[in-house]
Symmetry: C2
Subunit: 268 residues, 2 copies
Amino acid sequence: MINRKSTKDESKTIEKYALSTDLLIFSVSRGEAKDCRSLSDKFFSILLVKRTKEPFKGMWCLPGGFVKNDETLDMAADRVLTKETNLHDIYKEQLYTFGDLDRDPRTRVITTAYMALIDKEKLTDELSLEASWFNISLNEKDNLININLDNSEEQIHISLKRIIEDETTNKYKYEVVQNNNVAFDHANILMTGLDRIKNKVRDTDIVFNLMPEYFTLGELQQIYEVILGKKLLDPAFRRIIADKVIKTDKTIKTGGHRPSAMFKYKRK
Amino acid sequence: MINRKSTKDESKTIEKYALSTDLLIFSVSRGEAKDCRSLSDKFFSILLVKRTKEPFKGMWCLPGGFVKNDETLDMAADRVLTKETNLHDIYKEQLYTFGDLDRDPRTRVITTAYMALIDKEKLTDELSLEASWFNISLNEKDNLININLDNSEEQIHISLKRIIEDETTNKYKYEVVQNNNVAFDHANILMTGLDRIKNKVRDTDIVFNLMPEYFTLGELQQIYEVILGKKLLDPAFRRIIADKVIKTDKTIKTGGHRPSAMFKYKRK
DNA sequence: CTAATAGTGTCTATTAGACAGTATGTT
DNA sequence: AACATACTGTCTAATAGACACTATTAG
């Protein structure tokens, strides 16, 4: 017999901790078109905030905030999301809770990270002064992940090693190899989110949260490609999404080529 | 311009909260064989603990405990897991963090739930007095979920309504319709875990954490069937798991039929 | 004409589902 | 022989990958 005590030992005084929520706010940025005939490049992008105080002053971090005592975690995440974007009814999901001992050098802070996806065209208000969109480019080779973040003024480079935690499932953790400009453990949180969305893109309709109401299949395919990090074949792509979209009457002429039909997301 | 303030307002005093971890410890129980020729029925089962104190005194809950100030969340989960099972190196994964305002009637407690899978045959020590394995039977029709938990002395019945939170992904929440014997929001946590494992069974090797070192394909198939809640066709099942297992020399005679080969999990 | 993207047809390879059948033990 | 499970062969249906082709616009 191993232990006869009650599972939760409620006799001792209970330690209390600061709780925060940090948000991975993802979107898609349109780059420059090479010439008038080309489609613009697309980038998967994330909203980061420049820290104005120590610790990590001047470095970039995820938008976040402490959980208030009249708020659920979801409500706290929504508050931060609305504060940063001034948008409501945005897709978000809880990502993971990070509770390492020294993730904040001041005091112990446990953070529940959320991931949100927005259509950047819905943004009407300017960003706050310290916030900025960074284009993400990601490549991985032999479990070494390189992330480049670019907001056209600054370039951040992060290297992470993917460490397999369990062989039966695809459970990883990440070891930061190089990171000079992302505060706290937020590089780790970012990578957790990038893996999550990559998996969800394959077997859910999550990408449509990044799309405007009307879009072309070419644009949609670009988003899939930029998140999955590989080219897709047109016929295969169109087969797969055929029953997820509705063709509309609208067409769009984007350059020196056949105009394309605009589609809408077909909700179930 | 929406808000120029720093994202984390660090000037105010920060609220602090009690943090706990609750564990879904899953395993497989062997039921009675109908006759000497049949294989024993298998049940997917979970370890619950009877509460000895108010609130919810006498009701069943998940094993859990408060996070200590020198522990990460993972460490706290491991501590609870070892306390309940006396086992080490058990598969576990973080499930979700529940932070509703009134989930504990005493004071606000945020809990990070973990899910662990064990091979019950590895258990050598007796359970603690208040702990007991409950066989799970689950059925769902028209988004109404019925869960029956049975430890051969008590039967617990839970009904939950599955509420679709988002159409693009398969994101649900659950509304408890009926629950007379599971404490706190643990019925909700249980259902979150059941959905998680069902999804993981399809596209990972997670089930092997429930298996002993040597097993027959019939037994393995039973586990898949009991978790997925449906019968599988033999040839299709064997095709899918063919490259996940290694055939060994061992065979086993379990009754009035052809003896079956024993297999091992083939790690990648 | 060319360049660029839009969009389709079709062949093939792979995978999933279904069912029938054989194998080998106990009672 | 009857039964229960172990295990295999094979047909078919559905899906994924690959490539070739046509369509339509601007310049």
